[in-house]
């Protein structure tokens, strides 16, 4: 039983960091990953088209669709 526990610890000690590093690029800065399904929308305040501050938490209460874009 102790050997199984030890092997499990070794497994997570070796494999988990490998998975954690999958998003990391050796020697290079990596951009933040997009929020995963189930995660909360980040609490960032942006602006509406009139320039008024728009905290994203104000989307709560209804479903919302956000699509990123720009002129080019």
């Amino acid at each position: 039983m102790r050997s199984v526990f030890f092997l499990t610890l070794v497994f997570f000690g070796v494999v988990a960091p490998a998975f954690a590093q999958r998003g990391d690029l050796p020697g290079k800065r990596n951009f933040a990953a997009k929020p995963a399904v189930g995660e909360m929308l980040p609490d960032v305040a942006v602006y509406d088209a009139a320039g008024k501050e728009f905290p994203l938490r104000s989307l709560r209460g209804k479903h919302a669709v956000l699509v990123f874009g720009c002129l080019t």
Partner: protein
Amino acid sequence: MRKVPGLETIYRDYAPRGVQFYYVYKSLAHPEHNGYVQPFTLAERLMHVAEAERTIGSEIPWLCDTMANDLKHAMGDAPNSEFVIDPEGRVLVNRTWSNPEQLRKDLEELIGPVENPTTVADLDMKTLPPPQPAAKGVVPRVERPKGGVALRVEPVVHDGGEPFYVKLRAEAERSVLGGESGKFYLGFHLDPLYHVHWNNLTPPIRVTLTPPEKARFSETTLHGPKVEVEGDVDPREFVIDVADVEPGQTLRAAVSYFACNDEEGWCKPVSQEYVVRLEADRDGGWARGVGRPDLAADRSTRRGSGVFPGRPGKPMATNPAGKDSRPPAADGGREMGRVARVDAETNSLTVRTRDGAEQEYQVSGDAMLRINRRIGNINDLSSGDRIRFQWRSSPDGRLILRLMAR
């Protein structure tokens, strides 16, 4: 924003059923396309939002990211990502690329189907062209440094000063950012949202550079070309050689030019300054197909669907003026390997082949990337990923056109 018509149909059907829709305006992915350039201030980014509303004809309201691009960074840095959020604020769907067809299916599942879905033909979207106050295509474009990296540019703003009618785009070869010698690009682009043009009856633009300490520049005083046409909107571009710069140092560029606005009836001399920081601007975007004779801005070169569709394109002639430029006939092929390194800032990959050799590739701005059977982008690739790809030689090096990763 090619997905806009599809998104607008979904908006028509599901907004009345309580779903909120927003486009989020962020930094330009491809500055200079249609003349649009990165805004310097929030007020200018809001001008972009108004311009998007005007030219795209959309009904979905816009939100505007902060000038630090906080939301773009927090949501994965992709140019056209799409998210569905539940009423508690949790992410239900996160897509690297907007997919209206799939989005409709998502909402059918969440909210319920619509009896008579709106089609694109039902929309009456009035799209308008970008502003062009004067002649274009008069001044030949210069060829940019290979693999140039966009640098951070900050305007020196004075109270009561003129708007920055001219936006500076600075790029440097990666060698320069690594402390070695290389080429440095300075492009002075008129911002079309101010409806101004160069006044060619007056002395051309003059640029005075103040290099950082100990740096060597091949030139520090630059003059624009003398142009016969009275007024035009083409950028004024310069490429110089630099050496002995240290990453993070700054240089100042002071410009003097004459600008005219025919609608408002004025012409005036303008003198302004910019500070260029010798570090990559992760939000600078990539000016594709412009001054890069290997890359056509015209997407019509992309054929059909799938990663390796049909025959490779015919070789095309090179035009140094940049107008109607097409890629030169060149070597290329199909390869398999593993990703060794990804550099999303410069849109490049290092690939390790079976024999252990490593080769660097630039990813074309028009490249079709299919990752785990979904359309993705370079940010979705990680070291170790197995890839198959098609590439072609170009003046910028080896250029990936299509890529599939699992």
